[in-house]
Symmetry: C2
Subunit: 496 residues, 2 copies
């Protein structure tokens, strides 16, 4: 098939540029010297023009549209690729060029404005940018799908097939069943281990423990590596090159440990994808939500379990003999599961975390429907924090300005964080039917867990949608009850 | 000027690709996981095709040829750029495409064949590739300049303006004046410090000392960084992003130290180039020889001086108290300047180093003129080693197979190593007229030395040729007598 071959060649060329942008990002986030940004920006300017020209070229449009017109005649894989390509194409080409350029410039500028605003606790200086970002995103969503609620288009961008109707149901359930439970738990604060948790832990030794965790999770060092960066992240260009970072805070050792396990979850997913999807549009994990389900599963279900510390407290004590003096298994289990109402999402514990997301989802929904304006945002934010967690930010830097997402025009991203955690619980209960998970964790036999996830999820790359995967793995559609059950069981036992 | 603008746009686009190849190389040489090579090779395949298409595009040829035809009307900077562009273009477009492709494949293959041959001490398996590489290079040189000795074309590729006539004179002088001196010094071997030199030094501590050297040399950390790799090298994409590596051998601490100072020489050169040459063909250091003059100057003239260790032995002893027990200033000076006949170029000391290069130059010359064939090469090599250094390799791995250069088709590269060292001595004596160098080194005031080099050499990037620079800096043309004088003075005092 000549057309399919042309399609493949074009896709591969674009992927080469994407690889390059990826590498530029990895370099700049992990080691590039401070003053290197100017030259890099020039290079990225030249290369983005090249890539944009490829993505919107008449020849490429013709190939995609032609294939799309005869989609029923294509094999399943190519069908899925062409649908993805068509969707991406339609999103871009319906935007007038001048608006596209204006939006790109706004996006770059807004990041800087947000950084300053956060640093100076000055929401007013960012408000105008935020308003423009919202308007552009609504407008672009309507160009693509005039008949659809723009927020639904955005939600689908980050998690294929999800709509506000479904998220409303999900967060509604959390609000009814989880909020009262969280408030109950918060009445029993546990500060017994505060001085241990915030003791001073040498960075080099933290690195040594995180390096040990690579082998515990059985991540393949020949196809990946660990480094450090300000914000932990996972990076991959193929299953044969998957890298992740963690960060070292001397007075909060759990930050590096759980960031490492979290990213190892993402990274294991990417390493276990079949290489057959390389050079296709079905490479990489299938969605934000499924990705997050894997990172949360490794971080929380495995990493914060009693069995995990049964297996690994010994090593921890060997590396940190002073700080861990008198810390026994049960102490460690309680310490890593300390629950407290906190202002900042990225520092939130497993139980209060979904509250932070629910708040963001509700606010995005109101902003997109016009029910709330950017003027009311700080108050709205603070009121909801008070409602769900009983605390009120004293500054906008610790409130509405804390996250980078909106300044980059990412609306509809946040809900995938909670969705991923909920997916993770549903997958966990399905796994329990096949595996004696506690035993495997306790014996550091995670190769069995990896294998199960590979066979059921990882292997497929993006060749299945999140909904298809979840149905196949768990035998039913998404159901938040598993998440609520998991959290209630675990934290009732720990706190009530 | 419309034409000049087109030229600039085209150059900038090509430079973006060169930046990318550079970054891919940096990544792959310093950290990329072992199994990442397959995906990277695919990406490089796609991008090299893109770059080659740009470099040979009809529109680009037209612009360069048009500008070249009116070169006298252009300003000095543009004249120099157009000459460079024209030369590079003519080198490529005169080669028939099929031969070019064949040569590229041969080059890639030969590297692997050489690696195996070196590992297995099997010159016979590499001989055929070497022969083909020589023939291709001669042929290509003749396509470009049919009237010129092909070896002269190659020499000019690595050091603009240098010819075999000039190198003959240079190496002839070394042969007459230096070989007898070296043989005399070698009669007084110094093994007093062998056990100190080859004592065990922890890698992490070596790294700490090398990190300290960054500040001694006053390399700007905001515009660069140090990392490690198997073979030390310097990497740069602009004066604002200059990186270098060193390597850590636990039983040879001088390896990391002098590799670091050597690369800091290259790196300081690149950092001190004016940013006005960014986005032009005059960016970066002007030639291999001038670059090597800077690295050798920092490594040997500064780093192996008595004054340098007067300033820095204290720090060394602080980091390595055990190993340096009883080592006083004079001991250290003698240890870092130990001279011995050795088989391997990259491990050679300052005095015997040029002998290794002389041998390679003479052999390249014979191979290119047809005076010697690849069949005779191992014998020829070993005979010359015996003649100049009085030792004979027992294996070809330690002889003719030791260096990577020829397997990559690089003929004419080696002589720039010795030339650079000789430039360095000539520049050194010029510097002594302006600066009290020993005092500055002793006081760790290298900012004054950097400043002098910046003003006289670094600043100009490639906007001056090596010959122009040398004449302006030292007031005379290249003269090997300074090099001979420098070596004789230093090593007479140490050894005779």
């Amino acid at each position: 098939m000549e057309l399919a071959k042309q399609f493949r060649t074009m896709i591969n060329k674009m992927q080469a540029y994407e690889y390059v942008f990826s590498l530029l990002g990895w370099d700049s986030n992990t080691e590039a010297p401070r003053e290197s940004h100017k030259r890099r920006a020039e290079i990225m300017g030249v290369l983005s023009q090249e890539l944009f020209a490829l993505q919107t070229a008449k020849e490429y449009q013709d190939v995609v549209n032609q294939l799309y017109s005869e989609i029923d005649t294509l094999d399943d894989q190519l069908q899925r690729e062409v649908k993805k390509a068509k969707k991406a194409l339609d999103k871009v080409i319906n935007i007038p060029m001048n608006e596209y350029v204006e939006y790109m410039q706004l996006g770059q500028l807004s990041q800087l404005v947000w950084e300053d605003a956060k640093q100076n606790n000055d929401y007013e200086s960012f408000k105008g940018n935020l308003k423009q970002l919202i308007e552009f995103n609504k407008k672009f969503a309507l160009y693509y799908a005039p008949e659809k609620d723009p927020y639904d288009t955005m939600l689908d961008d980050f998690e294929e097939g999800m709509t506000s109707k479904e998220y409303d149901a999900f967060f509604g359930q959390l609000k009814d069943e989880l909020v009262p439970f969280v408030r109950e738990v918060l009445k029993h604060p546990n500060h017994k281990y505060d001085s241990f948790i915030n003791d001073s832990f040498d960075s080099k030794k933290q690195e040594q423990f995180c390096d040990y965790l690579i082998d515990v999770i059985q991540f393949d060092r020949n196809r990946g590596l660990m480094k450090k960066s300000v914000h932990p992240f996972t990076w991959n260009t193929s299953p044969e090159d998957v890298r992740f970072t963690t960060r070292y805070l001397e007075n909060y050792v759990f930050s590096s440990i759980f960031a490492a396990i979290h990213e190892l979850g993402h990274a294991t997913y990417e390493q276990q994808i079949s290489t057959e999807w390389d050079n296709t549009l079905l490479h990489g994990g299938t969605s934000m939500g499924i990705h997050e389900s894997q990172s949360r599963f490794y971080e929380n279900t495995i990493g914060r379990s009693l069995e995990f510390w049964k297996a690994n407290l010994g090593k921890f004590k060997e590396i940190f003999p002073e700080q861990s003096k008198g810390i026994e298994l049960e102490d460690m289990y309680q310490a890593v599961n300390r629950v407290e109402a906190s202002l900042v999402r990225v520092e939130a514990d497993e139980l209060t975390y979904p509250m932070h997301i629910m708040l963001r989802y509700e606010i995005e929904r109101m902003l997109m429907s016009g029910e709330a304006s950017v003027d009311e945002l700080p108050e709205l934010w603070n009121d909801k924090m008070e409602e769900y967690l009983g605390i009120r930010p004293e500054t906008d830097s610790d409130g509405v300005l804390q996250d980078v997402h909106w300044s980059g025009g990412m609306f509809g991203y946040f809900p995938t964080y909670a969705l991923g955690s909920a997916y993770s619980a549903q997958i966990y209960y399905a796994m329990l039917k096949d595996l004696d998970l506690p035993k495997l964790i306790e014996n550091n036999q995670l190769e069995k867990v990896n294998e199960w996830l590979k066979e059921k999820i990882h292997n497929f790359g993006s060749s299945k949608t999140p909904k298809e995967l979840l149905l196949e793995v768990t035998g039913e559609e998404f159901n938040a009850k598993y998440y609520i059950k998991y959290l209630k069981e675990k934290y009732s036992e720990l706190y009530l």
